[in-house]
Structures are given as C-alpha cells and as structure tokens.
Amino acid sequence: MSNVDNETTRKPTSGRLGQPYHPEDPNYPLRLWWIAGYAEEVSDGKLLARKLLNKNLVFYRKSNGQIVAIEDRCIHRGAPLSLGWLDNDQIVCVYHGFRYDADGKLVEIPTQEKCPRAAKLDAFKVVARGPFMWIWMGDPADANEDDVPEFAWLHDEKWVFASEHMLVKSNYMLLKENVLDLTHFPFAHKSTFGTLDDYASAAKFSYQDNVVTFQKDFLNQPLSKIYDRDLNLGGKPVDRTDLGKSMSPAEHRFVTTIKDPENGNEYQFRFQHLTTPETNVTHHYWWVISRNYGLDPDPRDWFKQIANEAFSEDKAILEAIQARINEAVSPLEMPEVSAVADQGGLMARRQLKDFMSRDHA
C-alpha cells in the first residue's frame, strides 16, 4: 500500500511529497451546489457573465423571477451570449441574432425556418437562497434543491451580516487550507488580526462524515478586541469556543461562541468563507461576517473594513504562491513538508478526494 492517492490524478514522479495542485488539472467535484454569486446581481433585463468551474456562463432572470444560467457561447460562431441582450426570456446573440431559450435550446435563426437539433447549449439549475444564488454543474438529474444550504442566520433579524466578493488568483484549495490553519495570524496578519495570538498553539482536528472540524476552547479568559467591540465586557473573563468547519469544498464556516458565565448569555460571531473555482488557478471568494449582538450602531462598514484589510493580506500570499506554481516546470515536484497545524488542511484534501469520488459513483 502506498500513499493515499486517487488514481485519476497525476502523481509526482520523485516519490517525494509535493504540492498537489497542477495548473492543468481541475480539482473540484461537479456533484455539489457551488455559489454562483449574490441573487441580487441578476437584475431584471440584464445579462451577467461569470466563469465558474472552467465554464463561461451567462445568468439572467426570467419574467417569473427564476434565475437561469446557460453556456456563455453562441453555438454558431462562438460569440459570448453575454454581449447580446434579453428579449422575452430569451437571449439574442449580438452577432447574428440567434435566439436561445432558458434550457439553452436554439429557438430561432433569423434568416431561416428551421433550427438544427444539434444546436443546444448546456443549461444549469440555479437556486436563490438567502443572499446567494447556487448552481449545480453536474448531471441535472442529480440536482436536489433540498441540499442547497440555508444559512438561516443571514435572514434572521437577531443577526447582522456583511458580505463581499473577491476574485483571487489562486486555486481555491489554497484558500480552504488557509482558513483551516489559523496559526498564520500572528505573521500574515500581524498588523490586522495579528493581535489574535489565540492560535499560537494548534487546535483539535477531526474529519468525520465528510466534514473537517477544528475546535479550540478559551476558558475563563478576557475576550479578544475583535469580539469584544460593541459587547464591551472589558477584561471580564468569559468562556469562548471556536469551531471551524469545512462543510464541503464550497463552504467553510468559523463560529465563535462566547458565554458570559455570570448571566449565562451566549453570543456568536461567524466568518464564512465561500469558494467557487473560476479556473484551475483562480477562484471566486465570497466572505460573510455576521454576529448576533451589537446590531446597533450598524457594524457592517466595520465588518467590510476588517475583512478587506485582512483578506487582502491572505490574497497577496496565496497569489504569490500560485504564481510560482504556474511558472514551475514540474508543479507537482515542488516539495512540501507539513507541520502538525496543517492537519486541517490535509484533512480538507481528503474531503475533496471524497467529494470528487462521488462524481464517479
């Protein structure tokens, strides 16, 4: 028995463990609901172009409100349909006016009677839930809308949240591994989150039922400034538990639960890291920061400020790493040695392998 390996992926020839993401190899499952963007981005009458999982897509809203996604490429001579316009729930190509319906079927060629049967584009199921729209890019017959995550707290009046999109020039797994190892805080974020030296020692990790979890308890200690802002417990000792979970390759959530032992009150602060591959070497990243305390005054500008400050620091590092991978002659031979704190990221690789194996089931 050798290393745990998926036979369909490339292996390093040296036998030494190397960084595992080859720029030419897709590393994402199709049988999974991925985030496509904010539902509100697809407004009436407009076409939204976006690349997900190496596919150029065009999104629009039908007159009944349903969001539709089809391949963003006219099957005639390859013009992006997103350059065209919407008319009566159909896309009109800017080049020769070919028309497609919401199923991607070519329904009109202006200069002739018949449309060839072969003229069909892929259409993808899109479900709007909460602030997000989710897309299924596997076999449509496998899409189960019940599996689209709810994120109930994002439409709960006791919570406040902010969220923004970033396009990061790295493979998405680099970000997923980043948020599973918070020992980078004192270094990568030394001028922003750096004061959180909570992760100077490793957390406890587990991989069960296809979910990677880490937990760290901070018992009977004063709260870090980031959580105490607008809670104002000062130096009062409280119990805090951090729970980080990679729920799937698409979704990571980090939940901090604070308990005031004096009155038993519980507060929660959450960071969500939602990732969808754009290409093998770039990805869409939607972050969500939320909490169920300090709703007034409105903290959302502050959420955006800390997110942009800190996440741009991560972005810069991940992009620098990816740039090296991209220019490497043998990307899989770049040697890699792990630390104990990498347990979570390494489990996320197993999680990815398990999710991808469902594509072949």
Partner: protein, 319 residues
C-alpha cells in the same frame, strides 16, 4: 518519545464489590499529585513487569489522591490478579502521568453517562465534574448483580434521581437503550465505557436514535491478554522477507525500520501528512496519528509509521 513516570504510594485498598477492589494512590511526600481531568486513566507499571491502564474514578478536584477501580479479570495474565492478591497498603508503585482519551465536552447541554461493569470508573469522575459544574446529566450503571456493582451505593446517595442502576439479574431494572437513546437532541452528549460487547449494544441504540458520531464518546476496556500499553517495545515483521525488528520505547517504527535498511518514504514526522502510511497484515496498531479516518483506524489494516505504535506484541507490515 519517552513516558514520564512518577512513584506513588498505595494508601488504601478497599473491597468495593465482588471481584472489585479500589486502590487509593497518594504522593509519598504527602503533597499534591499531578492534576488530571475527568475521564483520565493511569498506566500502572506493576512490579511483575506488566503495565495496565486503570481509569481514575475520584473527582479531579481531589489533588491528593488517585482512586482506581480494579476488576479481577478471569483472563488476567497477571495484571488484575496481581493487584488482587499481592498489592498491599504501603507499597510503592510506578505510574505514568494521567492521560485523557475520554474527556467531557464543556459545551454539552446534557450528558448521558452509560457504564457497563467496571467501565463505571471514568464515568464516576465525570459525574463529579458535571455535578460540581451544575450541569445537566444522567448516569446509567449496568452491572451483573448488586453485589458486583461497585460504588453503586455511594452513587445512589450522592446523585439521587440522576443515577439509575440496571442489574442483569433483575429484569425489572433493565436499561432500555433503544428507548432512552432513541431521540438525539442538539447539545446532547453520550459517554459510554465498558466491555466491547456492551459498548457495541449501546452504540447501536445511539445510531438508531440518530446520534451524530461527534456526540458519542467511547472508552473501551479490553481484556486482551497480549496487550502492549504505553510506549513499550514491540516487534515489527517485514512480510516479504520475514525480517523481525524490535521497536524500542524511545524509537518509532519508521526509525527502527530505517536502521535495518528498510526505507519508508516520510515527510512531516508528526503523523499528519500520510506519506509514511504502510499496510498492516497482522497485529493490532496503536494509532497515534492525525491522518487516518475512523474507518481506516478501525480496520487495523494500515498504520502511520512515524508515530503510531502497537497494541499487540508484534505487527506484520505489508512491506
């Protein structure tokens, strides 16, 4: 990696029930002992050369003593039999520092402790902690008969309605695991300890009741007689050649094999990356890694050689 050991004094030995003694260990200098948390166990280095793990059953608040419960096992190859016949008050014994592989989850909303026979020991310590913390819990103790139910009297008087005794010889008191574990609620945690068959029965009920695996905590007391505990030496056998190599206490399988010119690829040397993963054909691995899945661990068919050891005296590797 070596084990830190301390010398303790046998301050008392008590008959608790048929076949069960409690042993009270204290600091020979009269001071505090190293602290432990509820659910911990001590590896006791018996003077006859055998090492046995025993759970600590007193409250973690008691810094002056460790109280162990020892069942005289029929299959004993000299461990519990020695304790029952040869150990005496005033003896000095070597023990390793308390180790906890079975701890309480602080955030639990409600804890259910289920003990089978001598498996009651770590749960008693847990019940002290839960009671001291005013936490919601219930304690189910399953024993063969009243005369064999060690500590039952004390538990009954201290815990009142939170404690229920279920005796095999009195069907009216039977524990209906399927009914009582039938519906998991969020925040509920289950802690089970006892012999393998008992644990399996309880886990089946929990499974049927929809208990998620991260809310079920198990400590298994095995009566296996060729068990190797702690960092004791053991042998590895290279299947293809039959070569037998000793892995000493301070060494790892990886190192021992390398010194015999059998080279396994390795990288992190911390048990997290999986590079040194090797197949196991015979023997029982003692998994110490952070890489294998639960299924892989249970299968016993593979091992992370940079850090894991062996529960059996010998391991045959697929090399």
């Amino acid at each position: 990696m070596s084990t830190v050991c301390i010398e303790v004094l046998v301050a008392g030995i008590r008959h608790e029930a048929d076949g069960i003694l409690s042993v009270e260990l204290t600091n020979p200098n009269g001071g505090d002992l190293p602290p432990f948390t509820a659910g911990s166990h001590l590896d006791v280095y018996l003077p006859n050369g055998i090492i046995r793990p025993y759970s600590i059953c007193n409250s973690e608040r008691e810094r002056h003593r460790y109280v162990l419960g020892v069942l005289k096992s029929e299959a004993s190859r000299g461990g519990s039999a020695w304790v029952h016949s040869r150990l005496a008050c005033g003896d000095r014994v070597t023990v390793a520092m308390p180790r906890n592989m079975f701890s309480l989850v602080d955030s639990a909303q409600h804890s259910i402790l289920v003990a089978g026979g001598i498996g009651v020991t770590p749960l008693i310590s847990m019940s002290h902690k839960l009671r001291n913390g005013n936490k919601s819990f219930e304690f189910r103790y399953c024993a063969r008969s009243y005369t064999r139910a060690a500590f039952a009297r004390t538990l009954q008087s201290e815990l009142g309605p939170n404690f229920r005794l279920h005796l095999d010889d009195n069907p009216a008191t039977a524990f209906d695991a399927r009914a009582d574990l039938g519906h998991w609620n969020a925040g509920y945690h289950l802690y089970v300890c006892g012999p393998a068959g008992f644990i399996e029965w309880v886990l089946q009920a929990a499974n049927a009741g929809g208990w998620p695996s991260e809310n079920v905590h198990v400590e298994l007391f095995t009566p296996l007689s060729n068990i190797v505990v702690g960092d004791q030496p053991f042998d590895v056998v290279v299947a293809s050649s039959g070569l037998r190599i000793r892995v000493e206490s301070g060494s790892t399988i990886l190192e021992a094999l390398a010194s015999a010119h059998v080279h396994i690829p390795f990288s992190c040397e911390q048990g997290v990356c999986g590079t040194c993963l090797t197949g196991v054909i015979d023997g029982t691995p003692d998994h110490r890694d952070g890489f294998l899945s639960e299924d892989e661990r249970r299968s016993g068919k593979c091992i992370i050689t940079c850090c894991s050891r062996s529960k059996s005296v010998s391991l045959t590797l697929d090399l």
